[in-house]
Symmetry: C2
Subunit: 464 residues, 2 copies
Amino acid sequence: MLTDSFLSELQNIPNLDCYRDTETLLHYGHDETEDLSFPPHIVVKPATVEQVSAVLKIANQHQIPVVTIGGRTGLSGGALAVKGGIGLSMERFNQIHEIDLKNLQVTTGTAVVTQTLRDAVAQHGLFYPVDPSSQGSCFIGGNIAENAGGARALKYGVTKDYVLNLQAVLADGTIIETGANTLKNATGYNLTQLLVGSEGTLAVITRATLKLLPFPTQNVLMLVPFRNEAEACEAVSAVFRAGFVPSALEFMERDAIDWALQFVDNLNVVVAPDVNAHLLVELDGNNLDQLLEEAEKLCSVFEAYDIDDILFADSTEQKNQLWKMRRSIAEAVKANSVYKEEDTVVPRYALPELLQGIKRIGAKYGFKSVCYGHAGDGNLHVNIIRGDLSEQQWQEDIPKGITEIFELTVALGGTLSGEHGIGYVQKNYMPIKFPTHHLDLMRGIKNVFDPNGILNPGKIFPDA
Amino acid sequence: MLTDSFLSELQNIPNLDCYRDTETLLHYGHDETEDLSFPPHIVVKPATVEQVSAVLKIANQHQIPVVTIGGRTGLSGGALAVKGGIGLSMERFNQIHEIDLKNLQVTTGTAVVTQTLRDAVAQHGLFYPVDPSSQGSCFIGGNIAENAGGARALKYGVTKDYVLNLQAVLADGTIIETGANTLKNATGYNLTQLLVGSEGTLAVITRATLKLLPFPTQNVLMLVPFRNEAEACEAVSAVFRAGFVPSALEFMERDAIDWALQFVDNLNVVVAPDVNAHLLVELDGNNLDQLLEEAEKLCSVFEAYDIDDILFADSTEQKNQLWKMRRSIAEAVKANSVYKEEDTVVPRYALPELLQGIKRIGAKYGFKSVCYGHAGDGNLHVNIIRGDLSEQQWQEDIPKGITEIFELTVALGGTLSGEHGIGYVQKNYMPIKFPTHHLDLMRGIKNVFDPNGILNPGKIFPDA
């Protein structure tokens, strides 16, 4: 694929680091999606937008695929070089350029780790609320590419709600600024929002200006154990109907908690034998007395269901423990078995119906699933466990089961992915949500931005 | 333009009301933009999405322009039939389909008046925060088409932040659903956000599902009189730096207030002679004691500047009066003089510099301007007053002045329109913000959605 003329042009880009050794190619050939491995043919690590522009210009002329690589924490295979070509690692765009205290904005390179960004602005009393579970290693650019969500989305929204403006490089090397650093904008088509969630298929995002909020200084965290998992899902909607908007409302099935407790040492959480699900509920604000008053009222909402004693976290350490338990589930499942993860999302009231449907479909196809996720915004992660399923069952029956899960999700007013993106592993399910004319509109947009189809080929769109 | 075969096909659409009388054509040929009049050749009033689809299909085959018409409150001429053709009045899509208390969403026809929608959901304790000044007559569909903002955007965001899903009709008559009724969505390109703010040039929007919030039950409103208008602008940024996020923070120049006071009867507001600008500041929430405490702290932020006595509105009636004063400014200016309104927006800290620059440019070209707007989000409405300028000055010098205002706005990190859209009157200023390759991307998208260019031609894009 990589001709000598292509390589020599690439090597003529001043100060661009290129790697072709097997170890590097393998390293950049996987992310957190199952056990997939798609090494690129070459890895480049530009450090400036001009270098990105030069790489794309050459790749476009030679029609070589370019896959933008971030923190490699993706769960849909979005950053895997499934067609080979260039792995464009953004890791050197790791500078926070400006924390703008006057306008409550931050301008950052897209390879800054999300947690690093959140911590940096917090030091100035500012809040970047988007907190995917992988925040300790994912890049802000990957969050933008996949429109990442996380646990605070029910109150604070998702990545798209914070992106004001992007610097991006088009397939032909043109550098654009998508919008303006303003809270309001009604000036032409919203290319900023079009790039958010476009999974590296429309442009390479090199810099982002994000909206910030004042940091809420207080929070209350409680763990509510339910004997019946469907009731836990029902309670989610009851919380909002009662007028509360928690800053987090997480659902965990019994299995999810057990696996997390086994996986993480020293988690000081005891779960009674008859408990089948938990809600982890956080309220935040600036007035602790008011939060405690609200939390008390919230308890009476939960007490209408069959619950065990509610645990109030009474120290920062205990809060960290509870969040660690929640955030370890994905890794715990991965350590336990081969699995496939789906990222279903529905209007939150439809959660009980979705959960019951998933269990029914599991029974039909003979698979076990572990479900957990951001119930407050209707986003349920479904881990389908391989366990002792045969290769044939895994390859043939499971995709049928997943198809039925997605059909149910769409029938309930939901969609295929809430925050992980479609990437490589979900792309062939896209026709369940979108008719051909809709996919053709998206293909048309893709073609405007990237007529040679070099940017992240083999993603989002179903195989022909 | 309208051939017999076209008219007979149109008249074959069952139950579609068509109008060609001069009175109707003139009525639908203007909005609130200056004194412009561009009557369509025919007005149709579909009542169903199938009728919209049928109209577009025929128009597309015959290549007849279609302009979607809403509440005709636009300020950029977005709904004017500048190329003639069909005026597609959406007024019969005026049903709220469902207020979904379980998921805090509303699904509505796009011809529902914004205030009607806000009142309807408020009766259920729910809040649709977007409140353009024209909310008493503008349609929610027009708000979506222009990405309308309003006074609460600094805390609650703009229209785009509430649109979850749209039903829309493409130029060829295809009916699509753009997204899903979910808070999170990472499933393909975000066509929902692409249609928001696209000013009727990509599709006809027939139904919208909008996110709602619990209604904040309490608020505090205060009017802060400043002796120096630049200091009033500076104070805006100081409020946020001190950790406050008011629900409204409006700026009004002295002239704006004087004109509003003359225009509206019985406004019980007295302004001292040495006051040159006001900030109208609202805090909202659910705990009145806490709001009053915050308001007191906020006063000390303002007291660092040269201000007169702060007025606290002590009754609902007084609050309504202050808001009426603010909302009447546009009409008052219109009643006073021929004018042109620009809708500049910058990062909020740049407001004082923008305001001073506008006055400097006004002095250079000999025009008076009245400035007011949503200072909390950096959105300043600039009314350029014709007064006794000659026709030549008005036609030749003023556009040069506007060009300089926009150049300054862009240089300050801002953009041409915060919430009114580009429409007809701002389109030739687009190259100030966007280089050709950027406009070409937008044109490419337009071409994917509307290859024959029938949807709202002559808008957004600069003349060739």
